[in-house]
Symmetry: C2
Subunit: 334 residues, 2 copies
């Protein structure tokens, strides 16, 4: 079922100084689905919900705990820590620019940000709520949420549907524009250094960009098999193929080891790397990808060039006001 995208013609590089116009800068707004157009009231409600640890059974884990917007949009851990200190097998993907992916979760099992937002809340090792019904009971008990939901969804009730729509609307605002690469893509030829340009060129040459294509360098979030070259020592060292990706949920042979193509935007800020978070540094991650995915052995200089370019994909993180969580005067859930 996963579609394999061919290398887009834009990626054919004529030379380090002439390819700027073929590249896409990150859009300043993200597309929203027809059934959930972005509004200011939804974004504001979503920002609050995203940061509210009362969406977890213990009152200690919010969406932001693992997708920390103050950092790179994730938690800098190999795997995240949910309620009662539990950990799972995958590394939290960044929420920044997640809006530019067609599918969500490492295995791409969620087709929308809305569907993704529903998952962790009731996952027993993540936020641990027994059901969304229980979440809705909590939210309905909080005056401030009743007001905020009414504003965001005047004709709808507080529900899993409206809560996840609000969270997704907020996430669609999490965009990091104006990286050195974006400035370069918009025509400022000196926005990238010579080394960064060499890195970009090398990435196109060896095939990185056949998957990591598009403005978010994620093939728009399509699926790819990973790793493609099994039985290398690196593959064994980092145990990539223990996790069968989409197969784990679909149970279909053809989905084995298929993962969503992750964005390379802000990749320098989201160590450790890969779905299982086993690779600690960006240098190592580049070497690993070249080896297990492309069958290439890169020189140290080539790795350094690529890492330099990847650092040029770090964008500007817009200032955000810390939301005040609506209070439950005089009582508590825990």
């Amino acid at each position: 079922m996963p579609q394999i995208r061919t290398i887009v013609s834009a990626l054919i590089l004529a030379g380090s100084t002439t390819f700027a116009s073929a590249w896409d800068a990150l859009p300043s707004t993200a597309p929203a689905p027809a059934n959930n157009p972005t509004t200011a009231a939804k974004v504001e409600l979503g920002r609050i919900l995203f940061h509210d640890p009362r969406l977890s059974s213990t009152g200690t884990v919010s969406c932001a705990s693992c997708h920390n917007v103050m950092a790179g949009g994730e938690d800098s851990r190999p795997n995240s820590m949910g309620v009662h200190g539990q950990t799972g097998g995958r590394s939290a993907p960044t929420v920044w620019n997640a809006a530019f992916s067609k599918v969500q979760f490492w295995d791409g099992r969620a087709p929308t940000l809305e569907a993704q937002a529903a998952g962790p809340v009731t996952n027993p090792i993540e936020m641990g709520m027994k059901s969304w019904d229980d979440v809705v009971v909590r939210l309905k008990a909080i005056d401030g949420y009743r007001v905020a939901f009414k504003k965001a969804f005047p004709d709808e009730a507080i529900s899993e549907d409206t809560a996840t729509k609000a969270i997704a609307s907020y996430e669609r605002t999490l965009i990091t524009p104006n990286s050195p690469y974006d400035k370069f893509a918009k025509g400022n030829k000196s926005a990238l250094t010579a080394q960064e340009k060499r890195g970009l060129k090398k990435m196109a040459e060896i095939g990185c960009l056949s998957c990591h294509s598009g403005a978010a360098f994620n093939g728009n979030g399509e699926f790819r098999e990973f790793p493609t070259i099994f039985n290398s020592y690196l593959e064994k060292q980092y145990q990539f193929s223990n996790d069968k990706g989409l197969f784990e949920v679909s149970n279909k042979k053809e989905d084995e080891h298929f993962f969503k193509i992750p964005t390379l935007r802000n990749i320098a800020l989201t160590a450790p790397y890969f779905h299982n978070g086993t690779v600690k540094t960006l240098e190592k991650a580049v070497k690993v990808m070249a080896t297990v995915q492309l069958g290439r052995k890169l020189s140290s200089a080539e790795v350094e060039d690529i890492v330099a370019f990847l650092n040029a994909l770090t964008g500007e993180f817009p200032n955000q006001t810390l939301p005040m969580l609506p209070a439950t005067p005089g009582k508590t859930f825990n």
Copy 2:
């Protein structure tokens, strides 16, 4: 060693409409110690450190995890949850207006905000760092922190001393002015309802304010014995005296069951109540205090009046910008 403060004369109430001038509104700035004058650069650094989960061994717990400034300055839990889901025996006190207390922690063992800030970081069940030396190694490895510390402390190194000074400087800005009570104290007689005034009068009458005195309703953070009336059924039900307060650290007989007087500011937002967080609602907390501390049995109407007044101690929480945590490009601690 704890000093017992006598009832301040300001608390003698002549009548519900005439006592406004005797009361203090919350100051708009907090005093700072001579060796740590508040500066904008320290506050900014402190805001970042306060929100950085990399100050914990797992990278999952920041000061803000248990002292959530987006909520009532604490975590709405009976006891806080530290690294690996561990919990302790005490409830996190609010960080809002903590600057107006002379001592910190429930047992008042820290004489300053600076000293308090040092504690949880290396507490094995809170943030779990092995030592402050380990914290300093982490901070020194982060470019952004090197710059921010240089700005805040031009002539000093990154250290436990400078880090805790910055955190304390930030905490001194966490003040919630303009509660209905403050408006009343400043002369707006209609800022409190008749019920709220009745509640305040009742509190003075029965003796609540003999401890909860001063602008922060905390006796400036002096010590008191709690509970004073042992062996009541409520005292047994909530197991207050299992925790011996300051005695637990001083081992001095005269410190047994002595605790810091907690602020009543924003008390409606900080359920559950008491040092062990066993009391879930404000109504119950008022009844308990009247019984185990003052030997009074209040009517339901009296409890309602007092709760109404306590709600009038909820102030305005100043908007804050979410800090961006300095990045560690391409690498991670966990």
